[in-house]
């Protein structure tokens, strides 16, 4: 069975919400929709306070090539357009909409659930345009605008579309639930992306801890030309774009290059489903499936949630924040972000809400490095985390660059595997930021000289 070859770790899976059917979250009284839910320039607001909007009304206009449209996820009145803290704690521009309770949708959106497999009427240009209008971004967490992804540089030929159904983060099951319930739609979505890119072959990577999803997708995919379901050996971080490419095709993306440079485009299954909805049903990206989980919860859920719903509203679905919860994470435990308040919104890239009990939330005390090499063995980029950690601690940023610190994508395998519980990634992250800054300054100086 295939997997990537360098490094990797095996965190305890803890997929508590495995097999839980998708439920629909109630529409909250108020949503907060950030204008920056993607990599690139924040969208420009095109509504004013007091405006009436419907579900699917465009409220933020894409501000350039690398940017994405933002739509209202509820029907109601624009209450405020102001700066509010987001996941990271930084203040970002958000549009607050008070819902009117009617849940009135834009008339262009087809709300029926009938499956439409026929895509002959859509040309590649129409597909790309519809995806751009719908504001679709990579929903696996990187939130790279899909329209940019589908416009690869002219000098490269794309021969593989790779679909990411790996979901290697512990706890999360949102993509798993989606594959079980919307396999047909995902396959039509794959056909659409294939058509837009002009490629004939799509590989869907699914880790073999989801045998039901593999079986379901395989059964559905037989009716489609050129969609192959590839079961993968369980290993974290297989869901990383670069590692999925290596696992499925054996190719490696060079340092600081995009997947297109090795002839591949990677899309998450949730984004693929969003493409189906956008192209066939004219539905912009206004909701997504979020896993609500944690060992302290009595029930866990995979919830179809409107973008902009606050964490506290979403947690009401499972009976509110349980007693003794000490940490709430947006995303999975390996790469997710701990939030400081529950009054922050679910965004296009939020795949899960994970509640940790006090015992789980605190790190174990740090001891001496015993030089066991587990961090080196675990690093999927083949870096030397122990060395990067030491260099960063000593502010040796030039040396950090020499040791390729910029290749680190912060998967956390090093900190996870360390028997001395060293905060390896904390320091590497700091050093990486500084090292990138230095590289950028140098590049700037070069430009100034010329």
């Amino acid at each position: 069975m295939k997997t990537f070859t360098i490094g990797g770790v095996h965190p305890k899976e803890n997929k508590l919400s495995k097999g839980v059917a998708i439920s629909i979250a109630p529409i909250p009284e108020r949503v907060m929709i950030p204008l920056s839910q993607h990599v690139g320039a924040p969208a420009n607001p095109i509504v004013a306070v007091g405006d009436i909007v419907k579900v699917g009304t465009k409220i933020g206009e894409s501000a350039g090539f690398v940017s994405a449209n933002v739509h209202s996820s509820v029907s109601g009145t624009i209450e405020k357009i102001d700066m509010y803290p987001d996941l990271s704690g930084n203040k970002k521009q958000m549009i607050v909409i008070k819902t009117d309770g009617n849940d009135e949708w834009e008339p262009t959106i087809d709300r029926s659930t009938t499956l439409q497999k026929d895509i002959t009427s859509f040309t590649p240009e129409i597909i790309k345009e519809k995806i751009a209008i719908a504001g679709i971004v990579g929903m696996g967490g990187a939130t790279f605008p899909m329209s940019v992804k589908l416009t690869p540089p002219k000098d490269v030929t794309i021969d593989y579309l790779l679909i990411n159904g790996v979901e290697c983060e512990p706890y999360l099951t949102a993509d798993h639930a989606l594959m079980l319930e919307k396999a047909e739609e995902i396959c039509v979505g794959i056909e659409l992306i294939k058509k837009a890119l002009g490629v004939s072959k799509a590989l869907v990577g699914i880790e073999n801890n989801k045998p039901d999803a593999i079986a379901k997708m395989q059964q559905v995919a037989t009716a489609y030309q050129g969609i192959e379901i590839v079961p993968l050996k369980v290993k974290y971080p297989q869901g990383s774009e670069k590692h999925l490419i290596q696992a499925l095709t054996g190719r490696e993306v060079p340092s600081r290059k995009l997947p297109a440079s090795v002839g591949t485009i990677v899309c998450n299954v949730a984004s693929t489903f969003a493409v189906y909805e956008a192209v066939i049903k004219n539905k912009p990206l206004i909701d997504r499936i979020v896993t609500v989980t944690g060992t302290g919860l009595t029930t866990t859920a995979n919830v179809l949630t409107r973008i902009g719903t606050s964490f506290s509203d979403l947690l009401n679905v499972v009976g509110g924040l349980p007693e003794g919860t000490d940490k709430v994470i947006s995303g999975g435990p390996m790469m997710g972000r701990a939030v400081r308040s529950l009054e922050i919104p679910i965004m296009k890239g939020s795949s899960g809400v994970l509640c940790m009990t006090e015992k789980e939330a605190h790190r174990k005390p740090e001891t001496n490095c015993i030089r066991c090499g587990r961090c080196v063995d675990g690093c999927p980029m083949g870096l030397e985390p122990y060395l990067l950690y030491a260099l960063s601690k000593k502010s040796m940023f030039a040396e950090l660059n020499e040791h390729n610190v910029t290749d680190c994508f912060e998967c956390g395998s090093c900190s996870f595997s360390c028997p001395a519980h060293k905060p390896l990634l904390d320091y590497i992250r700091l050093g990486k930021a500084k090292a990138i800054q230095i590289l950028q300054n140098e590049a700037k100086k070069e430009v100034d000289k010329k």
Binding site: P254, T325, I329, I370, R371, D377, D407, R429
Partner: protein
């Protein structure tokens, strides 16, 4: 109030103490065998060695380092104590054992900064110090016959070979122990090195619990086998066969427990293989051409010194293929 911290929010179950305890568990079969063969004097020697290692580490930690969080809790000093005693003949006076522990813990480990900072394997430094300081006591072996001590002293198989070759005999002239005796441990030698089978059981336990990886033991033993096989094929009169080399003189103890010491072995898998091959080749060279019959300890210490250089070798990075 919610706790906020950077990712990852997940830590593996393993810890330094757990890894050290795994090594201790893996040493139990060899300890049981040595007590069975040499009697309770072996257990006493091991206990004295462990106790003095713990004591020296505690004293240095408390009064020299002024640490609040005592490092003896991580159990690494116990391993040093057990490994040092496994490298000593059971007839060694106990005061010498204590001196060996002082050198191992005080000089080789704590003077570099404690666990993880030492360059050389502490137990081996202790052993080599004793070997050079008290050569007579360190090379007097109880002769083991049918698993009991008969009171006379004998030589280790490697010692017999060395002496024999020196006095002009060939391998065939010497009455060496059979392969079965070598494998079970029916030979003379240090406490823990004699029984190949007990050490292999420990090694399998370490591999199964993922305490160590296969790279070092396999490359050490593999290169000893290959190199001694070349010598054996070139001149079987003066060179013992590969199986003899693998089963004697602490080759197993060194490959499984000493060379795999985390702090003094390389960080990368590729480095570990180079390290292991170096140890294997040096061991056979010292055994065959050096003044001492046994070369494992020296080979490991020499390769320990090269670890910082080996760590400089760039290993395979993602994206370097294209």
């Amino acid at each position: 109030m919610l706790t906020v911290s950077p990712s990852p929010h997940y830590q593996s179950e393993t810890s330094t103490t757990k890894l050290m305890c795994n090594v201790l568990i893996a040493l139990v079969p060899a300890l049981i065998f040595s007590v069975y063969v040499f009697g309770f004097s072996a257990l006493l020697l091991t206990l004295v060695s462990v106790a003095s290692c713990l004591l020296f580490e505690f004293v240095i930690d408390k009064w020299l380092f002024k640490n609040q969080n005592y490092s003896i809790k991580d159990c690494s000093a116990i391993i040093t104590g057990v490994l040092l005693s496994f490298n000593l003949p059971n007839s060694l006076p106990l005061w010498m054992v204590v001196i060996g522990c002082l050198i191992a813990i005080g000089v080789a480990k704590m003077s570099f900064g404690g666990l993880g900072c030492n360059i050389f394997n502490p137990a081996l430094v202790g052993r080599v110090f004793l070997l050079i300081s008290f050569p007579a006591d360190m090379t007097t072996w109880s002769k083991v016959s049918e698993y009991t001590v008969d009171g006379t002293t004998g030589a280790t198989p490697l010692g017999m070979v060395k002496e024999g070759i020196m006095s002009g005999k060939t391998i065939a002239d010497l009455s060496l122990p059979s392969t079965t005796d070598l494998f079970i441990g029916n030979i003379g030698g240090s406490l823990g090195e004699i029984s190949v089978i007990a050490l292999i059981i420990g090694g399998i336990y370490l591999l199964c619990t993922k305490t160590i990886t296969w790279h070092i033991p396999v490359s050490v033993l593999g290169s000893i086998a290959v190199f001694s096989c070349i010598l054996y094929l070139a001149n079987p009169e003066l060179n013992a066969n590969p199986i003899f080399h693998l089963c004697t003189g602490g080759a197993m103890l060194g490959a499984i427990f000493m060379a795999t010491d985390y702090a003094t072995s390389p960080m990368t898998s590729f480095g570990k293989i180079i390290f292991g091959i170096g140890i294997g080749v040096l061991t056979v060279i010292i055994r065959r051409f050096g003044a001492y019959p046994e070369g494992m300890s020296f080979a490991i210490l020499i390769m320990n010194a090269l670890v910082p250089l080996i760590n400089k070798i760039q290993h395979r990075r993602y994206g370097s293929k294209n």
